[in-house]
Amino acid sequence: MSSQKKLVVAHAPYWHDGSKISTKNYHVMIAALPAVLMGISQYGAPALGVMAFAMACAMIWELFWNLVLGKSMSIGDGSAAVTGLLLGMLMPATAPWWVIVLGTFIAIIVGKQIFGGIGFNPLNPPLLALAMLVISFKGVFDFDEALRHYDLGFIMTYPLADLKAFGPAAIEKFSLGDLFMGRQTGAIGSTFGLGLIVGGLYLILRGYVRWEISLSFLAGVFITALLFNLSDSAKYAGPLFHLFTGYTLIAAFFVISEDSSSPANFIPMLLFGALAGLMTVLIRNVGAYVDGVPFSILLMNLANPLLDKIRPKAIGKVVENA
């Protein structure tokens, strides 16, 4: 017969929309840039150092684990870099190197790899690391204490700490505009509200972040804080204050939407975000910790498999009545 050409066979479909995990992660990093740059401009080289070191450590831990287990290399997908970057953004600029090494170890190895790597982590890796570090090393994450040598020309006390210690009267000195524009102390990458929102909207529009989770989280924070505020405004701060301080915005757009630890169906996504928001404000207002974000989201991560059972009936599904 005719000269045989060597054809490649494969299973359908032969088209793909071209999306890739690495592309997605690079876009997350690009979207984080405004907040990252703001952090660097405020705290200078130490902030850059913390974030760069966190990224490097996270990637080295990933590489280390790949080598130890003899698995195929997965640092190219960018997920370790994003984890490192996010953890860096959640830390104060003065975080010591060993906290970063330990934190990235928790995030990459304990948070992700021991469960099987990307896609298998039940908890959000950077948040798990943050939560364990906050519990273990209170001093490092006491922003008033950690940033006492900085004077950046705005009020250098941590708004949420003021609220916890002295009540809403103590936070009247913060203007919402200042808080929104990043003129507040806090973690490196989590204070610049405008930058985080711009980055988050970019990710939502590009389809890399599910708006259902981000917006329902913000709504959850807003409504819960509003209800508290309406019930006793002398004891509880207003909703906008809660939105623009602490880890709220970075959590809403960069952390809570992490794929593996969040639901995929519509109603579960809304519930997941809203309940995490509610829990955040509950912890802030009546709980022991200054900021409830890490704990509330980790808690909801645990509920994720259960939440995701709420799903529409597949078309054609046969329901057997017992």
Binding site: M1, S2, Q4, K5, K6, L7, V8, V9, A10, H11, A12, P13, Y14, W15, H16, D17, G18, S19, K20, I21, K24, D77, G116, G117, I118, G119, F120, I204, L205, R206, G207, Y208, R210, W211, D259, S260, S262, P263, A264, N265, D308, R311, P312, K313, A314, I315, G316, K317, V318
Partner: protein, 420 residues
């Protein structure tokens, strides 16, 4: 290939190709290969090497066998070889050397009965199946003449609707007589309503967005009856025949000659489409040559369309009655799958036309828990559109897992039935 749009928030929309190209004829092939769906033993009785055959001659595995092929050329049988198709079915490949003439066989009797349909039209273009009509356990109330394509880029069926509406009309009349079914629907995209309305069928329009042309989607959206996971289309009382099949039947009764040609869409590497009419059994290489499409090493040659087609391993494989298109894809354009795990992003869940929790399904399929996948995560609801694999950011071969799962389950069922 259609890539993810810049604004990824909106779902990707894949549209059918609704602009049929004119049909050109492929010259008569030197050889044709007909795949008789019966193994070596069954095939041996159909004919022998050296037997003369006429155009339109029926070559059956045995006298009482339901499997047969219709020779599409006049000549002599030059080779018979066992062949296993992509679904693992044992076939016999009968190669016929054509002598360049068309000498028509006169075995076709024009009695409009179901027996005629079963005896002569199961090998008609479009792969119509009349077995459901003959099954006493099934009551067929509706015949859907599907003028929609089964995949993207293809326009073969629409061509037939546009150019052969009169044949479809006679085909529908014959079908009514053959089957006794009165309700005949015809589904076409909006721009072909005009020719379709001359056929005498009840015309329904279907949206041009993939996968609305698939039988299960038409049942749900047009007929208004959902095909549930534990039944087949025929169980719901509907039989789908492609417009091409109905036109072929109509033409056969008009001319007295059995259908031996087939319209198919050929898609080149640059995405250009053209429609050709060729003899069933023509080697794919001949079709490509007639269209000036060159094939090189490492290319993909896809029978069908880009979403649901089957990749052929050789250009010597023939055009089959069910082949609505041939797509040639460059190595650089082909989608590569990976062994990355699912990251639970939920793109597949949101794009699935039948709302299957694909993110969970694929985990069960990867773990080979096929029975659980079917019982809990709706494996049998799948309409096999391939969109989940198309959007998968981890590039998991989800569609392949689904097909594999269904296949493994069918093996289990067969084994259980044999044990009883």
């Amino acid at each position: 290939m259609i890539k993810r749009s810049f604004l990824g928030l909106v779902k990707p929309r894949l549209e059918y190709n609704l602009a049929p190209d004119p049909v050109q004829d492929v010259p008569l092939p030197k050889t044709v290969t007909l795949l008789l769906k019966a193994g070596q033993n069954g095939g041996a009785t159909a004919c022998k090497v050296g037997d003369p055959v006429k155009t339109g001659q029926r070559l059956a595995a045995s006298l009482d066998s339901a499997e047969y092929v219709i020779s599409s050329v006049t000549g002599s049988v030059s080779a018979m070889a066992p062949y296993v198709d992509a679904c693992g079915r044992q076939c016999t490949a009968i190669t016929i050397q054509a002598n360049g003439q068309d000498d028509w066989d006169d075995g076709f009797d024009k009695a409009p009965t179901l027996d005629t349909a079963l005896k002569f039209f199961e090998y008609a273009p479009g792969n119509p199946s009349f077995k459901a009509f003959a099954d006493p356990e099934k009551t067929i109330r509706t015949i859907v003449v599907n003028g929609m394509e089964q995949d993207l880029l293809l326009t073969a069926n629409q061509c037939v609707v546009q150019n052969e509406a009169s044949d479809i009309k006679s085909g529908i009349d014959v079908l009514k007589k053959m089957t006794g079914v009165d309700r005949i629907l015809m589904t076409v995209p909006e721009n072909h309503v005009q020719p379709a309305s001359t056929t005498g069928a009840e015309v329904k329009t279907v949206r041009g967005a993939y996968p609305q042309g698939l039988a299960h989607m038409i049942m749900k959206d047009v007929v208004g009856q959902v095909v549930s996971a534990d039944e087949t289309l025929a169980d719901t009382g509907a039989v789908f025949l492609s417009a091409q099949a109905v036109a072929a039947i109509g033409a056969a009764f008009n001319t007295g000659k059995l259908p031996v040609t087939k319209v198919l869409t050929v898609v080149g590497k640059d995405g250009s489409t053209r429609n050709v009419r060729t003899r069933i059994g023509t080697p794919l290489g001949d079709v490509l040559q007639a269209c000036n499409v060159t094939l090189t090493d490492r290319d993909r040659l896809i029978l069908g369309g880009p979403m649901r087609g089957i990749a052929a391993y050789s250009e010597d494989l023939p055009v089959e009655p069910g082949t609505d298109g041939v797509v040639v894809q460059d190595d650089a354009d082909s989608a590569q799958t990976t062994d990355y795990p699912c990251i639970n992003c939920g793109e597949c869940v949101r794009i699935c036309p039948v709302r299957i929790p694909v993110n969970m399904l694929v985990r069960f399929l990867e773990a080979r828990l096929y029975e659980d996948a079917a019982a809990i995560y709706d494996l049998h609801c799948c309409v096999e559109c391939g969109l989940c694999s198309y959007v998968c950011i981890s590039r998991i071969p989800i569609f392949q897992y689904i097909k594999l799962g269904k296949y493994e389950l069918s093996l289990i069922e067969t084994a259980e039935a044999a044990n009883e």
